[in-house]
């Protein structure tokens, strides 16, 4: 509950970083930054926001990003201001942004207050789980960056791709596969997605049925409930480590062994941000998932 795993991985991080940081301190004190041009320096917070900035061709204006921003891969070289809900005000100011574009829920509130007090424009981009929502994100970000024309073009492109992907993915109710999105299988316990999540939205957009409709959000569910949900396919994030459970391990889990998915060894792994980010690449995600669900059969 206290994030023990996080603490352990942080231990290694700290012990290595501590010495380096002390050395870096001396160096940093001598750096000097040029005066920022208005909105020439953008801090982007949230994976989909960063993707949209890049898709608008404005990647050169990015000064820094948050931990969840991992696409396009080049943004990994930007300074990372950490987890969006526990931002450090001085850390944020130190990257010298004049504009902060952020997904909903950045914090803590005290940090945002200070950041606003430092004359930094802060634009919040609402979360979205629908094609319209994605278009609205593009619209807001384009306006904030002063490139409404490019935003209109991108929105049109994304809208077309989405409607095409959705049309291709559409199938008759009885023909739809039941998909179980598994967030983690930590310790053999299945943490799965109910309704109201990005995973649920994507499954439906890709022509599947969420095998779980009894609860909202991500929750740990009992082995027997997994059996009752009777998923035809297991959907997971593709990201190595604990979550990259090998197929054998996955289908050996008692909960999963009871499911039709285990009989056919059907598991789909997609990049987390691609799948759940709801940004410019969502049409691609819909196609990928739809292909993975039905390509082999149809």
């Amino acid at each position: 509950m206290r994030g023990r795993r996080f603490r352990y991985s942080a231990l290694t991080l700290v012990s290595g970083a501590m010495l380096g940081a002390l050395l870096a301190l001396a160096v940093r004190a001598q750096d000097s930054t040029a005066l920022p041009e208005p909105h020439g320096d953008v801090l982007s917070i949230g994976g989909s926001v960063t993707e949209i900035v890049a898709a608008l061709g404005q990647q050169h204006r990015l000064k820094a990003r948050d931990t969840t921003s991992s696409y396009p891969p080049e943004v990994a070289y930007l300074p990372d201001v950490g987890y969006m809900r526990s931002l450090s005000p001085e850390g944020v100011l130190s990257v010298g942004p004049s504009l902060i574009l952020s997904e909903e829920g950045a914090g803590p509130p005290e940090a945002l207050e200070v950041i606003r007090a430092a004359d930094v424009t802060f634009v919040e981009v609402p979360d979205a789980l629908t094609p319209d929502g994605i278009l609205r994100k593009i619209d807001i970000i384009g306006a904030a960056l002063g490139v409404p024309d490019k935003a209109d073009a991108l929105a049109a492109e994304v809208a077309a791709a989405l409607s095409a992907a959705l049309a291709d993915a559409e199938r008759p109710e009885g023909d739809k596969k039941r998909v179980l999105f598994v967030l983690s299988t930590q310790g053999g316990k299945i943490n799965a997605s109910g309704t109201g999540t990005a995973a649920d939205a994507l499954i439906r957009m890709a022509g599947g049925v969420n095998a779980i409709s009894e609860f909202d959000g991500y929750k740990q569910i009992t082995d027997e409930a997994v059996g009752l949900a009777a998923p035809d396919v297991i959907l997971m994030m593709d990201r190595g480590g604990d979550h990259g459970v090998a197929d054998d391990d996955l289908f050996a889990l008692p909960a999963i062994r009871l499911t039709p998915a285990a009989q056919t060894r059907s598991v789909v792994r997609l990049d987390g941000l691609l799948m759940l980010g709801f940004g410019p690449r969502t049409a691609e995600a819909v196609r990928l998932l739809n292909d993975a669900l039905y390509a082999r059969n149809s």
């Binding site: 509950m1 206290r2 994030g3 996080f6 603490r7 942080a10 231990l11 991080l13 700290v14 012990s15 970083a17 501590m18 380096g20 940081a21 870096a24 301190l25 940093r28 004190a29 750096d31 000097s32 930054t33 820094a64 931990t67 300074p79 990372d80 201001v81 950490g82 987890y83 809900r85 526990s86 931002l87 450090s88 005000p89 001085e90 850390g91 944020v92 100011l93 130190s94 990257v95 829920g105 803590p108 509130p109 005290e110 940090a111 207050e113 200070v114 007090a117 430092a118 004359d119 909202d216 959000g217 991500y218 929750k219 740990q220």
Partner: protein, 355 residues
């Protein structure tokens, strides 16, 4: 056999050593404060600003924000929280006559945790106008009420006819901790992903949310509580002999217990409320000081306040620069620094490490 050794041949008196330690630690705290104002993610430095001021140049907007809105409130909060945690630890150890006691024993941690979880998970269910008005302060206020409330509840449960049983308090604290843990578990179950991450970060503690508003709301209570605790030195010394003997040498034992518990609940409750769960300061600091200058609480409490504040400020400097522009939760830093020191102390005491 009855010859009195010449006092000059006695090793130097520990009490006077502990008293001179006050000045050493105060100096250390001053240096830590300067470091905390000097070092940060931005390249604003205290010295550069002092130089500007000396030459009559105005400060830039950025410099003013970084110094007065970020580093100063953060420093003030670090001093308050560090001193509160260390003094509370020393006072609890004296009260329970156990060098491993910490404020968690009287339910502050469990209660504050439950309060914070309630606010994080159920806070969104409040009507919008309420969230607008108290949103930012909801978690700290709930954490404080939870920590303070559970301590007072424990105190009432273990007090009969004006006598507080320390043993009952320990047992009731375990029961209350389990109950708070279970309630927290229920809330964790219904929490969504984002709330879970918030909970994790709250539990790791941070001074990142420091603001003048928080300093002003928690500061008076923390200072009052520390002040109350600092007056307990003589009483806690007597209590080392046991409750009965403490009374025989003239200590009002029940009053001592009441003041100690109220002070710890106030200081720790307020500290946890504004900074989340920060471990190890309350145990390691008094322990180090006892090794350095003996267990006399008349000096131990003040020295704990000074060293606790110093260590927390230094830990915070590390927390905010190692992975800048992001920052580590400070609870991670105190644990990473505190745990090995603590283990080393224990091993040394068992003779497993050469002193």
């Amino acid at each position: 056999m009855t010859a009195i050794p010449d006092t000059a041949t006695l090793p130097r008196d520990r009490l006077s050593r502990a008293r001179s330690l006050h000045w050493v630690l105060a100096g250390g705290l001053a240096l830590a404060c300067i470091a905390s104002l000097q070092i940060g993610a931005t390249d604003v430095t205290l010295f550069a600003m002092l130089a500007k001021l000396a030459q009559g140049e105005p400060l830039s907007h950025m410099e003013r924000v970084v110094l007065f809105d970020i580093r100063l409130p953060r420093l003030a909060m670090g001093v308050l929280v560090g001193a509160a945690l260390a003094v509370s630890g020393a006072a609890m150890q004296g009260l329970f006559r156990n060098p491993l006691a910490d404020p968690g024993i009287v339910g502050v941690g469990a209660g504050a945790g439950l309060g914070a979880i309630l606010a994080i998970v159920l806070g969104t269910l409040l009507p919008v106008w309420m969230i607008d008005r108290i949103g930012n302060q909801m978690v700290p206020v709930a954490a404080f009420l939870g920590g303070w409330g559970s301590t007072i509840l424990l105190y009432r449960v273990s007090t009969r006819q004006g006598q507080t049983s320390v043993a009952t308090m320990l047992l009731a604290g375990i029961a209350l901790g389990a109950l708070a843990g279970a309630l927290s578990g229920i809330l964790v179950y219904i929490a969504d992903d984002q709330q879970l991450r918030d909970l994790t970060f709250w539990g790791l503690g941070s001074l990142a949310g420091a603001s003048w508003a928080k300093v002003l709301s928690a500061g008076p209570l923390i200072l009052l509580s520390i002040g109350g605790a600092l007056m307990l030195g003589r009483g806690l010394n007597g209590l080392a002999l046991g409750e009965a003997t403490a009374a025989h040498i003239g200590i009002h034992v029940q009053r001592l217990k009441s003041v100690a518990i109220l002070a710890v609940a106030g200081a720790t409750g307020a500290a946890v409320a504004v900074s989340g769960g920060i471990g190890f300061i309350g145990i390691v600091v008094p322990h180090l000081l006892r090794l350095a200058s003996g267990p006399d609480h008349r000096t131990l409490l003040l020295n704990s306040a000074l060293l606790g504040a110093t260590l927390l400020i230094l830990a915070d400097v590390i927390a905010r620069v190692v992975i800048a522009p992001a920052e580590l939760p400070i609870g991670i830093v105190t644990a990473v620094l505190g745990a090995p020191v603590f283990l080393w102390i224990l091993l040394r005491r068992r003779g497993l490490v050469e002193p």
